[in-house]
Point group: D2
Chain length 216, copies 4
């Protein structure tokens, strides 16, 4: 049966006028194969309303797979996140000027949720196809983690069996050109990587047992 | 009332013949003030048995505060960890040759536990005293995180009210001298930092509301 | 008058089966505009013979501008080098197994030569066009610096007025995919960057006065 | 015969109120053994006058060995510099507000001078004694390089046979505590390292042939 993929990206934030996560999501909106179709939605970079926009999109599209994308300026690779944690701790204000410190995402929620995407298989598939990729053990404590946790908590609460997770993408070259020393990745490579990640998320039932851990 | 502090450090691992976490714990063993006394215990760098040694020490000393220390080679700062996650994913074998991949620390445990140490107050106190320090959002997925999760899970399961958490220390200069490009910290500064961290853990009831988050 | 550009790249080295410097040079071989034509030559990654191949190519093509390219694995940006130094100090063997330590490139040569390319204008032009770029203060002490010094020394000795210098390019994504944590740049962006660098080297007579320095 | 060592350090710069290079020099002022005596002098962090203060000190003390120290914020190790280059290119203003861009240190001077300290032997000795150390291929283009070049040019011009060079030291822990992510080294370890470097500079006639190079 045809699967529905919900792909989200963020609006620009932190003085940038572009966000690679949305550039990727936008470019893949409407992509369909015999196995799936992709619907893309932009989220505001705002605590609270970003989560509400995510939930609204899930209710609208009833996806089988949800992949939330965000920008991780400074990282070299496409990084599927392993875990979402129940905390908002903002080093900078969000796009609405809010800067929560050590506030739970969901007051009664558990401390964390693991991604249900096959993150090891995704990393292996991207790497094998020449796209730098690695598992990340922390999605941070800003709006990315907030949306990731909110997504997993919503699905758990609703007993919604959709597979879901978060993937960070690096800065684009035109962003890094303004920040000497910052790594970047071309949009074409991000798109190649995300296409592979979507396919793997649809086809790979169990994740594979290869290490993606960190000593510390 | 006099508080009892349990401080643990690890035996050496990964080709090193010294582990700064144990050097710190050993040097502070028996340290007492009017407020507390410190008992230090060495843990093996082995999945499973490290946790058992921790539990044994808790049952022996009945501490009010437990601070587990570990080495984070490459980090510049003393880093109180925010959260322990329910996964073992070993990039290298432990000292008994075991290398679990994506195995829960506790099969029926929750996804994560937050540290109950006042991590923001510790970082603020160390920084104000000239000791580089920062909150870390990930304790990795090796034996350090394993012990941290096991510690928090044991206390939660036993409804033991002890305050507990994990603090990573950098490599020592003599270790970094063998690994060009690796940051380090002098043992004297680590000891200064850990003394402050122990005092703050005893005196600071509620953590303070200052940011210690990451964008990603 | 039509200018002749000599562009060199290296054969693969250090366990890699591809070298981005040659991929760039090869792709631009024969590129011509109304102002210039590009001739590309591959150099061996071997002390001594790399220099001889460079000199042979200069004598063959009699270029107005020489740009030698090399790979700088780990760098994020396209980095025009400021200076070539008169030393070979190899951390690894070259492709012929030679590993000189603290041997001058040219026994009677001066300590160093500055690039005569407009390195600041190149960096400014690339950055303005969204290609990450920065001045580098050191081309290392391996075959890249060896060729760079040999090139400048040859031109100086022959009183050859050709403009010349060295530009390092990052790893390609398919290389970085095998080395977690290594930055990379897409070949298309490298080509865009080098086209701009060649045009700037032809059109910009004097370099511009913008900072490209380092504190240390 | 008793040797005279001139050791220089800089006054604080760039918003810091301390400079580890001067803390080290100050602490070693007057240190004497049967082989040598150390005289320490503070240099202003100002283009031009820093050089004049260096020359004045050489004329006053007539040293056999000159070691100029500077701070390299962000580096992990004590780094003897290999080469001084004939360029001032300031990314920030000096302490007098001057910010030269691409101005030669000495209008008629050569492009560069190599250190005449036994830099490989120094690195080996420090590393063997547990003090992180590495050869650096670039002293930057700010006041440190300016003083280093000026020192070597003065000695060359005067045919003064004194051995001379520049060594960068990391930030102090109390500086790094204000700059999250910055590596540091304890003052005691810097002093240990510089004592070894001074002894090696007096006793080691020829440098040793071990690699201290960089690929790029």
């Amino acid at each position: 049966m045809m699967k529905t993929i919900l792909l989200t990206g963020f609006e620009p934030f932190a003085q940038s006028d572009i966000n690679p996560s949305w550039e990727v999501a936008r470019a893949l909106d409407g992509w369909r194969t015999e196995q799936f179709i992709v619907h893309s939605v932009q989220l505001p970079c705002v605590f609270g309303t970003a989560q509400q926009a995510m939930i609204h999109a899930i209710e609208q599209y009833r996806p089988d797979v949800v992949i939330a994308l965000g920008q991780a300026g400074g990282r070299c690779e496409i990084t599927p996140e392993r875990i979402a944690i129940n905390i908002d701790d903002a080093r900078i204000p969000d796009n609405a000027g809010s800067q929560p410190i050590d506030i739970p995402v969901a007051a009664a929620g558990p401390a964390a949720y693991f991604s249900t995407l096959p993150i090891k298989a995704i990393v292996q598939n991207l790497s094998a196809n020449g796209i730098p990729s690695a598992v990340s053990q922390s999605a941070g404590t800003f709006v990315c983690n907030h949306v990731f946790y909110g997504l997993m908590h919503y699905l758990a609460t609703k007993q919604n069996p959709a597979r879901a997770g978060f993937i960070h993408v690096p800065s684009l070259p035109e962003q890094a050109a303004l920040h000497p020393g910052e790594a970047s990745m071309a949009l074409a490579d991000m798109l190649h990587g995300l296409r592979l990640a979507i396919q793997t998320s649809c086809s790979q039932q169990q994740d594979i047992a290869v290490t993606g851990g960190q000593i510390h």
